[in-house]
């Protein structure tokens, strides 16, 4: 079990989505659940390749699998994308702070313009 916990780390989810074909698989699964053969047809990637990438995605918890009759159906699990979401949010906050400061500058410029029309000193 410790190895399972290890596999679900942030770094691993990041690595998993760094591969372009794996991102295409995730994009396809974002639209709906798919069987391996659906993905092979949709993405024009060979079946062994699709299976290999699905295995990586399953290991980091980005994708879940269930059996329907004799077939395995894959589903996207958005939870493990949260670290990536958080990763982007921190950078977004820098812009938010920068723009909050810009709000203050704009308020001053507006006050000047509405005041006596004498914007320049």
């Amino acid at each position: 079990m410790p190895s399972m916990a290890r596999a679900a780390t942030t770094t691993d989810a990041f690595n998993a989505v760094a591969e372009p074909r794996r991102r295409r698989i995730l994009d396809a699964l974002a639209v709906g659940d798919r069987r391996v053969n659906d993905l092979v047809g949709l993405l024009d990637i060979s079946q062994p390749q699709v299976s290999k990438h699905l295995k990586v995605l399953r290991e980091v918890g980005l994708v879940r699998v269930r059996k329907e009759g004799r077939e395995r159906v894959y589903r996207l699990d958005g939870h493990s994308l949260k670290p990536i979401h958080d990763w982007v949010r921190t950078y977004e906050r820098i812009w938010s702070e920068r723009f909050d400061a810009l709000d203050e500058v704009l308020a001053d410029l507006k006050a000047k313009e509405e005041g006596n029309g004498d914007g320049d000193k």
């Binding site: 921190t90 977004e92 906050r93 820098i94 938010s96 723009f99 909050d100 400061a101 203050e104 704009l106």
Partner: protein, 168 residues
């Protein structure tokens, strides 16, 4: 009298592996937003938010003209950014290059930034599209946010530590 409080937080999306898109609405007409983003003494007031001071804001606002901003962080550490204006439509759009001087091989890891202003009912939506030469550069830029976030966390930790009574 309109309120001039914060119009909300910036919205950041990643349209592709090599792009960053930021958008934000301001309670001001676009000519004032344009003025605030192109006038050195005004840029110094907002560009670095509350993270230290902008010590240099050189703006030669014409196609082919150069710009350079330097900020001094609270720890005295200076970081510089510079670039060149490629396309300027006053009050509408500025396309410029941006190089982070602290990056490895800075000149070849620069970005192309397109800032666009759209006004509606006296309010302006500012968008910035940052186009990076590679996914690595884009990721490094986003990582810079992680570092700043981490620094905030350390600062907060320090404040909390200072507020604790000695010996606790």
């Amino acid at each position: 009298m309109e309120t001039v409080t914060s119009s909300g937080s910036a919205k950041l999306t990643l349209p592709s592996d090599t792009e960053i898109h930021v958008t934000r609405e301001f309670a001001a007409p676009k000519h004032l937003v344009y003025k605030a983003v192109t006038t050195p003494e005004l840029v110094k007031r907002w560009w670095n938010a509350k993270r230290g001071q902008v010590t240099t804001a050189d703006i030669d606002l014409r196609e082919g003209g150069k710009w350079r901003y330097v900020m001094a962080a609270e720890n005295g550490f200076e970081v510089g950014f510079h670039g060149e204006y490629r396309d300027i439509v006053p009050n509408e759009r500025i396309v410029s290059t941006e190089v982070f001087e602290g990056a490895p091989d800075p000149e070849s890891n620069g970005t192309v930034n397109t800032m666009t202003l759209k006004e509606r009912d006296g309010r302006t939506t500012l968008t910035v599209l940052i186009q990076c030469p590679s996914k690595e550069v884009r990721d490094a830029i986003i990582e810079s946010g992680m570092e700043a976030g981490l620094q905030d966390a350390y600062d907060l930790l320090e404040e909390v530590a200072i507020s604790l009574p000695a010996g606790s």
